[in-house]
Amino acid sequence: MAKTLTIEPITRITGHAKIVVDLDDNGNVADAKIVTTSMRGFEQFCIGRPAEEIPRIANRICGISSWDNHLASNKAIDKICGVTLPPAGEKLRRLMQHLTWIANKTLHFYFLIAPDYMIGPEAESRNVFTIFKSNPELGTKVIKMRQLAAMLVEHFSGKVIHPMAAVPGGFSKPMIESEREEILKGAEELLEFAKFSMELAKTEMLSKYMDFIEQIGVINTGFLGSITDDGSWEIYDGKLRLMKADGNCEDFSCEQYTDYIDQHIEPWTYSKFPYVKNWGEFGLQSDNSSIYRAGALARINVCEKMATPLAQAELEEFRDKFSRPCQYTMLYPYASLIEMLANTEQALALLNDTEITDENVRVPVEAKAGHGVGCVESIQGTLIHDYETDKDGFVTKTNIILGATHNTAAMNLSLKQTAQTLIKEGKYDQGSINRLEMVIRAYNPSFQD
């Protein structure tokens, strides 16, 4: 008899969503969907607010990627105001972003997904608390390392969650030498932790779960990410690159995003479905050519190289093993750890740059009518904040595409592929149901528009 399974809430992710699996009369998967069950409406309530206040409102979009939203929002307003930041102002923004990424990648890898690999996909109790009980040394280490990265940001900038220290035109305060020294010391510790995490992923994920990685959640899509002018991996600025599944690339400025990306709406979920309109008509079939992915795997695919040596060595090893572009969904977390190495290396480079303690961190701005698009990468994917203002500098129009939203279609396809592979003739258990969630967790989604 046909029936429906409702896996709700999807756990160890951010936001509100459920999996709905429809089984046919033979117990095979007829359909499987991810339903986002709530929405808050930031695009609406930013309208009417003074532009300079938006970075302190839009940061609340996500309590994890709040610095990324804060920065994309500030960049949109920088553009409306037509200002070029003082070098130290931009460097402080970049430093905060790298440090928060280290904290958040630690969260994603250890707190959200590692329980599935280290305790096992079928285990009765799979969570960070179980890791903590079975391996207190590792548990304590990850709690402390995430905390260290977070508190380096908090001590200097006032807040790691929902920040206010980036301001239109730059940064609200300069960094003094004693602050630089404190953060440098912490960042050196974090580099060792990033190396440790990379090796752990090789032993706990790659060596034990390769069959799983090759079979589960695999789909064929294009990719979106940011790169510098010379094609290096980039998260704060640069240009956008769309890579087709065959590896062909097209680069464009973030202002041009509407020339490429449109959004589709379905009646059964609050999440929108971005797609590349020049690649074909949108559809939720596995062979649809308009679907692309963003986030760690996408950035690792679209870049020509990493800008720092340790991350570059890992990228080369990754490409030797998995080619380019790599379509293995379950390697998102692994790609994310290559990025964590890059974050620590780039944070150290910024901290060793004497210019970072320059007192000139902000240029004044003024109320202006205009249109600005601010893009940064969030861990989940390319974040786009697009605002228009009136002559008094009040916001009149917005379009915000969250990093995770780019993956709405791809996640649904990965889920369906996994459900059809694992659930046959009415046979399933909590282990196979958890594997459906593992595919979604790999993307590090955030279901909260």
Partner: protein, 301 residues
């Protein structure tokens, strides 16, 4: 025996849950005394059973429920009501849970206006429906402990949990951010008009915080006078002041029922500052407290 905890998030952003993790080493100590039996962010308990076959939504019984976020959908309201039934003590964590928070800015519009604006003509219809507005937790269920902040300070979370472990209630003292702010005050603004934050404050970064003049007295917007203290923790100043920017009220009003709009007008006039230059006053002074009907759609002019 460990205290059984249910943790749930509603119209929120995960910042409150991140703040729980930011208790850091204290969390390591607390873990032996707490058992999180439902916590979508970190633990796998499901509403409809492990394989999604149950027909009734089920929240486990617990000693304590900690909830973040306001109430936006009918489904969230039903989950909250069940949590209240199943848990002995209900903790509202964070300003969204207590006052609606930033997402309750949505209360300035009618529900349909927002949905139509975001989804145009293709409104999702098969999703949990929005309530007419965003509600604070205590508009739906009785709250025993309030931990304000956007996000709450980890130190306050640790204190509240330690109180719960002893079977006690906890609350933040009713003081203003100004009471916890070290900046130098001369009781008079440096000029008569309020400036928008288009340039940085004047201060010496190498000098201690108490050498910087009060943000309001420098002529910039700061909601310290009407905002509850608690964001400072053990540090040398409130969080925003540490970043050298003005407070925006994220800990909510100093006491329940206070009227920040009225109180802020007198704070401005007391130092000779005209509120005329303050843009978007209604949304600014209710930025974090739009629930409880503080923000509602205005008739079209």
């Amino acid at each position: 025996m460990a205290l059984k905890v249910v943790e749930e998030w509603f119209n929120a952003c995960a910042g409150c849950e991140m703040s729980i993790l930011n208790t850091g080493e204290n969390l390591v100590d607390l873990l032996s005394e707490l058992e999180f039996i439902h916590m979508p962010f970190l633990v796998d308990h499901k509403y409809y059973g492990k394989t999604g076959e149950d027909s009734q939504l089920e929240i486990p019984e617990a000693d304590v429920a900690i909830v973040s976020g306001g109430v936006r959908t009918q489904q969230q309201k039903e989950i909250l009501q069940q949590i209240r039934q199943k848990c002995k003590t209900l903790v509202a964590l964070g300003t969204c849970a207590i006052n609606g928070g930033i997402p309750a800015l949505a209360n300035m519009w009618k529900r349909e206006e927002i949905l139509n604006s975001i989804y145009a003509s293709s409104l999702p219809t098969e999703v949990p429906a929005w309530l007419d507005r965003v509600y604070a937790i205590d508009e739906v269920a009785k709250v025993d402990i309030y931990i304000p902040g956007c996000p709450p300070h980890p130190q306050n979370i640790t204190e509240a949990i330690n109180a719960l472990l002893k079977g006690e209630l906890w609350s933040l003292p009713e003081r203003s951010v100004c009471d916890s702010c070290p900046t130098r005050r001369e009781k008079k603004a440096s000029s008569g008009t309020t400036k928008r934050f288009f340039e940085n404050l004047t201060f010496s970064p190498e000098e201690p915080m108490d050498t910087m003049r009060c943000v309001m007295e420098q002529g910039f917007i700061c909601l310290g006078p009407v905002t509850r203290a608690g964001c400072r923790g053990d540090s040398d100043a409130p969080r925003c002041i540490r970043a050298r920017v003005g407070c925006r009220g994220c800990f909510g009003p100093i006491r329940k029922g206070a009227k920040p709009m009225v109180d802020m007008m007198s704070a401005w006039s007391s130092i000779g500052l005209s509120p005329q230059g303050v843009p978007d006053r209604r949304a600014l002074l209710n930025r974090f407290i739009g629930a409880h009907n503080n923000l509602r759609p205005l008739p079209k002019r």
